[in-house]
Symmetry: C2
Subunit: 492 residues, 2 copies
């Protein structure tokens, strides 16, 4: 009875921008394919005007890299591409080369669920120039989106102050994987469950759901609808009460709840999906309590996000469980994380040393950082106090580091290396193309997010004008970058 | 050498909200699975504060429905789900039933590439209640997202006034399919090509791409980078000129262009990816023209959307080709279309007649429309002048129709049925679960969008406060809906 979806049963190696392949071809023609390079994936600004982000997507990246492969079918397709003289874009010999290419890079990455900040390399790839280049697009696609959603989810869960958040977004998600990967990332960010059954099956996420308005509309009356539902699924009763009139709906739910109680079942909850949630939840709570259903929860949904939840909390709305859909899975107020992937070092022609690389721009924030970068996070009393981006090939000579804000060189901070009070965030994932890292399960990653958020001062987690966490370039790397920029600006 | 991506090689039938399955179970327990129902998929507001939308996603829907299937593995998963008493949520007999379920519905839909408006059913499903219900989530997922992107793309292409628009969004897209489906929808909306190679291969979309900043950074100098590229790919030369200094970059590109010309190749273009595009494109055009490269195009990219393109056009920027990424594929300013799927009719218990259904709400826009709906579009001199949503079971008695705005019953319009001056938009796609519709190829759908947009008065296509195209309920249906609402409000 199994079927196969053609769309995704093929490998994803061609899920890349054509320019990666034309550059690959250029490197091959120029004999540069195997020059060793270092690329870093990072973002430039925290999403949602927030103070932090959550790294996510590495698990997808690992799967992709382990399956890196150009199939016969892919080659057949690539050989049909033409240049502007209507001749083949790629020589057949190059396509043979491409097909024989095996993934042999070193990959270091920040673990999923880690708190991260702008400018920090989330993934660092070191290996042959051609391989590093070809991987760019898919790495960005996976990490940009999943980090965005994990961050959004963590914010929404913070707003809910420990109460259950359910992710309901599939119907408005951006495509199939826009739904699946979002359910995974939302769970990592702190959601308790998803409505997405396939995400539940594939990723072992708890799934939740009861009934929609159409259920109620399929019966002569609302009370008949609730009672029929309770008859069929007595152990899963959260009645949606706003199909016709919310307050009447609550009364009908209480009637059905009484029947459930008589039969020894739990009247688990009601759901509000429209109207003024602050007002209606208070009214519903009163009715439920008066009927003795003090343990029956009120689930609310309807275009919720962290700001609306926060406002409802401040209004003392009587909501216990938060169903969040569209605003979570599309990261509605900022639907893309502007992550980029930049070359930071390349072996010189003689293969005797690294040439460090920067990309210039008239905007300081768009100038990239050179070097074989690593991130060191410093702690004091369990709270993180600052991150240094440093060059592994140029470690400071002593334990007193200075970090310098790359956007404002007058903002500096001293950091002291004390045993047990710091950690380096990039961990080896692949060495020479072989995986050396064991993927944690989703529950472990979700727990990591919770732990990591505890290490952040609450001012950094604030939604409005959060405190800017200190991330700087270690002084040696800062000086090196400055020298490179000045040299390039003079030369060019 | 072929590999399989486990993630998507299984079927997608479980890509649904759990509540569809709990409702399905409820219908099964209540003996209601085979009651004939009609559901409609529609949206409530045009996206992007615009005047229209483009229907897209039907092709994905057809593939999905043709592969509708619950596998053994799916059943094994579903049987692990528990209720709040820790007992199985679904009886094994129900799961057997579910697994034997075959898709047998009638599906009528607006063809991909059609111009559509709020409240109009894009897809109408008629069939057993249980089947109609289970399909909701995936239909919404596919149609919401793809219609959103096709609409965005059509707006961006309108802003570019016939000039080439290239879609470059994969790296910032919302997941794998957020990229693939977006590339397809963007092409339908009018883009000339995509950078997404897998979309090119799967959907037969032209692909384009040359090189990135990292290519330039991999050489000692920019001129060496351009010349090496030109040597390798002389038939695909669009030089990215802003790695270090844009104007110097243009000069270097011209040098490389001269070499290309000597060798008999075309210096196809340059690309600007940062800075003030109005200023830089004018300067670059002057330099190119002065060097005799009047045919060499200027491609621009960097966070473009319809508004920025429109502004650049008004500033007389010398840009010939528009590369659009993030803002297109995520529909950045409105990343979700709020499409919904509502029950509009259900056979009565005796199976003698339809019970028409509405969902109430305190907001008029959220009240659904009952009936076996069809859309009739009226034309005058090749321009469309109004759409009637009417009930197929209650066709008006004569050829003079009145349509009434469901949001404002005082806004009415007379329409006269004249041979050749109207058409019905919903076409049969499946009859009793068998496909009766041949999917057009992508080029045909793209051409349809162009043709359809020509039938719209330009005031409807305006970006700012567009004219509101008249869509109304045919008076018979309007009266029927009003009666139903009043009856429900009295009863409830």
């Amino acid at each position: 009875m199994k079927i196969t979806r053609n769309l995704y049963s093929s490998n994803l190696t061609l899920l890349t921008d054509l320019y990666q392949l034309t550059m690959a071809y250029g490197y091959w023609k120029a004999g540069m394919t195997d020059r060793e390079a270092v690329f870093n994936l990072f973002f430039r600004r925290n999403p949602f005007k927030g103070g932090y982000a959550i790294a996510c997507g590495l698990s997808y990246v690992i799967d992709f890299l382990e399956n890196f492969n150009i199939s016969d079918e892919d080659v057949a397709y690539l050989s049909t591409l033409k240049g502007n003289d209507d001749k083949q874009l790629f020589e057949p010999k190059f396509l043979d080369y491409l097909q024989q290419l095996e993934f042999t890079c070193d990959v270091d990455a920040v673990e999923e669920g880690s708190v991260v900040f702008p400018q920090e390399p989330l993934i660092r790839i070191k290996g042959s120039l051609i391989q590093c280049q070809i991987l760019e697009t898919l790495l960005l696609n996976m990490v940009n989106f999943q980090s965005l959603i994990a961050t959004k989810s963590s914010r929404i869960c913070l707003a809910a102050r420990g109460e259950e958040v359910l992710e309901f977004g599939l119907r408005r998600a951006q495509g199939i994987d826009g739904g699946l990967a979002a359910s995974r990332a939302a769970y990592i960010g702190g959601c308790a469950a998803t409505s997405n059954v396939l995400a539940g099956k594939l990723f072992d996420i708890p799934v939740k759901g009861t009934h929609a308005h159409s259920w109620v509309m399929s019966f002569e009356s609302e009370i008949e609808a609730f009672e029929t539902y309770a008859e069929a699924l007595p152990n899963n009763c959260i009645f949606l009460v706003d199909t016709y009139d919310t307050i009447e709906g609550v009364k009908h739910a209480i009637k059905a709840g009484n029947r459930l109680k008589e039969k020894g079942y739990k009247f688990a909850g009601i759901r509000l999906d429209s109207g003024d949630l602050a007002y209606l939840s208070t009214k519903a709570r009163e009715l439920l309590d008066a009927a003795g259903f003090t343990e029956t929860v009120i689930v609310a949904s309807n275009d919720l996000d962290e700001h609306i939840i926060d406002s409802l909390k401040q209004q003392d709305a009587k909501i216990n469980v938060w169903g969040v859909g569209t605003k979570m899975v599309t990261a509605y107020d900022q639907p893309a994380l502007g992550g980029v992937y930049k070359l930071s070092a390349l072996r010189n022609k003689e293969n005797t040393a690294w040439d460090y690389k920067v990309k210039l721009s008239e905007q300081a924030i768009k100038i990239s950082t050179p070097g074989i970068q690593q991130i060191r996070r410093f702690y004091a009393n369990g709270e993180c106090i600052g991150d240094a981006i440093y060059d592994e090939e140029n470690l400071p000579k002593n334990d007193n580091w200075t970090i310098i804000d790359p956007m404002d060189m007058t903002r500096r901070k001293k950091m002291t290396i004390v045993e047990g009070e710091y950690k380096d965030l990039l961990k080896p994932i692949f060495v020479n193309g072989k995986r050396v890292y064991k993927k944690p399960d989703l529950q472990t990653i979700q727990a990591k997010v919770k732990d990591e958020l505890k290490t952040l001062h609450r001012s950094i987690k604030r939604f409005t004008n959060p405190h800017s966490y200190p991330v700087g370039l270690e002084k040696g790397l800062y000086d090196l970058k400055t020298d490179l920029i000045l040299k390039l600006r003079e030369v060019e």
